[in-house]
Subunit: 218 residues, 2 copies
DNA sequence: ACAAATATTTAGATTTGTCTAAATATTATT
DNA sequence: AATAATATTTAGACAAATCTAAATATTTGT
């Protein structure tokens, strides 16, 4: 597969939300920041190669073979993201662009060994699951911290309230996007929580808990 | 720079042995495994871009700017090779192809952090020097083990005698290409040596010493 | 159901990097 | 120094991936 073909495969995969959903030419064009006519050309080629199913005017979906390629790209992308954050001190929001390049490197041994080097991580720095070599992975969902059962751990992926005071609070308490948070205990009386974050346990009010999104594995 | 342009720059650099030597169209074509006419086209373009000096029928050399790009590619290539060997258990002879791909990844932060992650290595697994960010590096030369002064350390890069008995000897004594060897002591009487390899010191005869090539920093 | 709006495809052009074959320049030989 | 051998360039073609503009199909609104 060429670089460009791989990018189209990933776009179709993501637009189809990981299912073998049919997506429109225009949707792919928008995602790829290209023109619909270019998409038509490319999906014809992908179809000829057995990677996609294309029906003129009806849209395009990935074949099983195409899905496998997409999953392998997602796996590579997310493993590299973990590498960049864990080993090279990249932050949460700096990894995407570089991972977009690294995901195209072709070497099975490289990815197997990288996986091992990183300790076989299950999720990337954004909390998204990393497919196994065979293409299997766990689904994840986004929930407010106060909605997850005690004992669950997840990755902090967003805030509901993005006002300066709240963001300042998070900063002061060293809570950042990408951090792994374990919901340790809940106080029924006032709905406050004990959470473990980076080896230390802190106490947060219910109001804080209802404004923090976690990504958790179901 | 595109992938292809970068490959040509590296080829011109290597054929010119790192100096701003003028190299012939045919030489570049052979190195790149392409046709001379393709080289002509490309060096014209590189010339237009200020990367190379091209005089029809006279050959091509890199400009200072082109040399900078070449050194940055060499730096990236060799750092990735160290990474593959040190962190991902690749062996000496498996790294080249993957590093050829990785060297094209564009991210200054990535390379700076990789350098740091690896402990700022000075040479790659083949004993070749890694240029600094500014493009400076130490020259290295290949010498037979018996020709280097006591106290020198270098990387084992080849054998003069490649007969099965000799290779078997190396194997038995756990001496492999890519290993760092310190010449610890020399016995004047019979020209034998004590060498340190991977934390253990062993004794080798003069005959062995005259058949092992080391790459050392001058 | 029909016209208007939107989506998609086709046709033809463009850029990049490559190739082959022919033309031209350089170098080597006698 | 003239010719033969070799090296290099030019001209023209091709494939991949893209684009614009025009043509065609589908969907939507009344």
């Amino acid at each position: 597969m060429t670089l460009s073909e791989e990018d189209y495969i990933k776009a179709i995969y993501h637009l189809g939300k990981g299912e073998n959903t049919t997506v429109s030419t225009n949707a792919v064009a928008e995602q790829m920041e290209t023109k619909p006519s270019s998409v038509t050309d490319m999906v014809k080629k992908l179809s000829d190669k057995g990677v996609a199913n294309y029906k003129p005017y009806k849209g395009v979906s990935l074949t099983e073979y195409g899905k496998k390629i997409a999953l392998s790209l997602v796996r590579k992308h997310r493993l590299w993201e973990v590498f960049l954050v864990e080993k090279l001190n990249f932050s949460w929001d700096e990894v995407h662009e570089v991972a977009e390049q690294l995901e195209h490197i072709k070497s099975e041994k490289l990815i197997d060994q990288l996986d091992k080097h990183l300790g076989f991580p299950q999720v990337d720095p954004h909390g998204d699951p990393i497919p196994s070599k065979k293409g299997e992975f766990k689904k994840t969902i986004k929930k407010l911290l106060n909605e997850v059962p005690v004992g669950t751990s997840g990755i902090c992926v967003g805030v509901k309230d993005s006002s300066p005071p709240f963001l300042k609070f998070l900063d002061k308490n060293k809570i950042a996007l990408g951090d792994t948070i374990l919901v340790h205990d809940k106080e029924e009386f006032d709905g406050s929580f004990d959470i473990k974050i980076k080896e230390s346990t802190i106490h947060i009010s219910n109001q804080i808990a209802t404004n923090l999104y976690l990504k958790i594995t179901e």
